[in-house]
């Protein structure tokens, strides 16, 4: 065990400043500072507020993680950091911190992909990932179905949302119902007391000609909002619990149906679910039910590891070290739309094959790009 890589991981892609420390597949520390309360009054994550909070929290969170893990920074085998995708300014704080920390301590640096980290974190909970693994990642920022034959080198997009992320739909419906931000936990709670079949909300992209693994939650969102509005206009009381339950059922029905279908089509017998929405109790229950029926083993990390955190970055970093993947170099940039097909960002000096794939100044090009790089 002691010869497994000891890695510190830094995550700042959205509103959580996370620093985790792992040894191989063992979690040693998971320190988090969240700015979610500062965003609540705006009803969503404000990038500049998040970036300011990351700067304030960065060093204290690193120091807290080291203390929690009871290890010395000198003993680390590497520093991993989310290089993308995410909010550009927020990512930049973490990437700059990770580079400096690695440089000052003389350790290798691994810029890794946020989505691959969400998958790899399950190693800390359920041991090594089977190869391949099918992964459903659902959060406020992503809704993707990914096939991962090798989490350090080969992650393939099967499908993704064509409009809103699943978590975003939860937040928006919570806003319409005046339940506050973030919307996921409160809708989950109210839905338990409601009837999921009370209102037949639409299941997006489930027609025979629709893309089998893509998602769409925009139509559902509009439909729910209109339904609520009609009730209000008619002077009737809105049955909040039934709306929450029926909306949630529509989301998790589509997510689990498509994920199980992807597993069957690809002959994969493991499904991993990650991201903040994986904390949703109905998603977990329905996924369990459908996986059991299809003979698929379901792996869902505990809720604290599903939301953004540093441990997931450290978990993927440790895998990079264990598999001798090339380190990143000091020019590593924060890439707000790092494609999911790049689980990490090897340095140009280490790997000339990748020289043309990582131009230094492509960051703002992606910012204005119209393409959804996941699809």
């Amino acid at each position: 065990m002691a010869d497994e890589p000891l890695v510190l991981g830094i995550e700042t892609s959205c509103d959580e400043t996370g620093v985790g420390i792992v040894r191989g597949t063992t979690l040693l520390a998971d320190a988090i500072a969240s700015s979610v309360d500062e965003h609540a009054r705006y009803g969503g994550v404000v990038p500049e507020v998040a970036s300011r909070a990351h700067l304030e929290a960065m060093v204290p969170t690193i120091e807290r993680a080291l203390k929690e893990a009871g290890v010395s920074a000198r003993d680390l085998d590497g520093i991993a950091v989310t290089a993308g995708p995410g909010l550009a300014g927020a990512l930049l704080v973490g990437v700059s911190a990770a580079k400096t920390y690695a440089y000052a301590l003389g350790k290798p640096l691994y810029g890794v992909n946020h989505l691959a980290s969400h998958i790899c974190v399950d190693q800390l909970e359920h041991g090594r990932l089977p190869e391949p693994t099918m992964a459903l990642l659902v959060s406020g920022g992503h809704s993707s179905l990914l096939l991962a034959p090798d989490i350090t080198a080969d992650v393939r997009p099967m499908g993704a949302t064509i409009d809103d992320a699943a978590g975003e739909a939860f937040d928006k419906i919570a806003r319409v119902l005046q339940l506050g931000f973030p919307g996921g936990p409160v809708i989950d709670r109210l839905a338990r007391e409601g009837d999921p079949s009370a209102i037949a909300f639409p299941r997006g992209l489930t027609g025979p000609r629709d893309a089998p693994y893509d998602f769409s939650f925009s139509g559902l969102k509009t439909s729910v909002a209109r339904w609520i509005e009609a009730k209000r206009n008619a002077g009737e009381e809105v049955p909040v619990r039934d709306v929450a339950a029926s909306f949630q059922e529509a989301v998790v029905d589509v997510l689990t149906r498509k994920a199980v279908r992807a597993c069957k089509d690809e002959g994969v017998d493991h499904l991993m679910i990650g991201g903040g929405v994986a904390a949703n109790s109905r998603l977990r229950a329905l996924a369990q039910e459908r996986c059991e029926r299809a003979g698929i083993r379901l792996r869902v990390p505990r809720p604290g590891l599903c939301t953004d955190n540093g441990a997931m970055v450290a978990a993927l970093g440790a895998e990079m070290v264990a598999r001798n993947r090339p380190a990143s170099d000091w020019e590593l940039s924060a890439d707000s739309s790092l494609p999911v097909t790049e689980p990490h960002v090897p340095g140009q000096t280490h790997d000339h094959q990748h020289q043309h794939q990582y131009p230094h100044d492509h960051d703002h090009v992606h910012e204005v790009a119209k393409d959804n790089l996941y699809s």
Binding site: H39, V46, R52, L92, A97
Partner: protein, 217 residues
């Protein structure tokens, strides 16, 4: 004593090493969009050029702005992380003070840097070492009276000749000047600022339409 000074509050990404009596090495690149990519390699080259390893650094000095936030944070988080990793103090200096020091001026003048959005960050000085006003952010036209008749240094002054008719160099921040100023202050027991950013503006409290969507459409 080995001071490492960094400043990313302006388009310049600038790094210098100072041993308490003179500047040992320095490097500056002007590129307003790539602070994150450029800073650490520059730190590496400056240290390597002086034949030193990171753990030789005894003090980290950082320009705390004011400056455009994204770039400004790169210097601050780098300085703070370096300080934590090496167990050495991190001291802040106002970025405008570095430009003032570099000007060598002996009589009253103004420092102005580009704050974007048609504004400048600025302060008035009695001489190269003495700031008279708190750093502020304003539209050039609104401060024309306050700076009338004074020579002005910095890129912000050069950008707005209507307000700053007597604009001159230095245009860009230099960590060498910042390090020299820091060495002087350390020797005389002078004060430093905490290593916290001078934003001067509240954050834009606007939630982007597709917030958290990491693949912009």
């Amino acid at each position: 004593m080995l001071l490492l000074a960094v400043d990313t509050a302006t388009p310049a990404v600038t790094v210098a090493l100072h041993d308490g009596s003179s500047v040992l090495a320095e490097e500056s690149q002007v590129d307003a969009r790539r602070h994150g990519e450029l800073l650490l390699p520059a730190v590496d080259r400056v240290l390597a050029g002086a034949g030193l390893k990171p753990d030789a650094v005894t003090d980290v000095i950082v320009g705390v702005g004011p400056g455009p936030y994204t770039g400004l944070r790169v210097g601050l988080v780098t300085a703070l992380t370096l300080g934590s990793a090496l167990g050495v103090p991190v001291r802040g200096l106002c970025t405008l003070d570095g430009l003032a020091y570099a000007s060598g001026a002996g009589s009253p003048f103004v420092v102005a840097t580009d704050a974007r959005r048609k504004e400048v960050y600025w302060a008035r000085y009695a001489d190269a070492r003495t700031r008279l006003t708190e750093p502020a952010v304003d539209r050039p036209a609104d401060i024309a009276e306050a700076v009338a008749g004074l020579p002005a240094v910095g890129a912000g002054a050069l950008l707005y000749p209507g307000t700053f008719p007597d604009a001159r160099g230095p245009e860009h921040q230099s960590a060498a000047a910042l390090a020299s100023l820091a060495a002087e202050r350390l020797a005389s027991g002078g004060e430093f600022l905490p290593a916290l950013p001078l934003y001067l503006r509240r954050p834009d409290a606007q939630v982007p339409k597709n917030y958290k969507v990491v693949t912009p459409k």
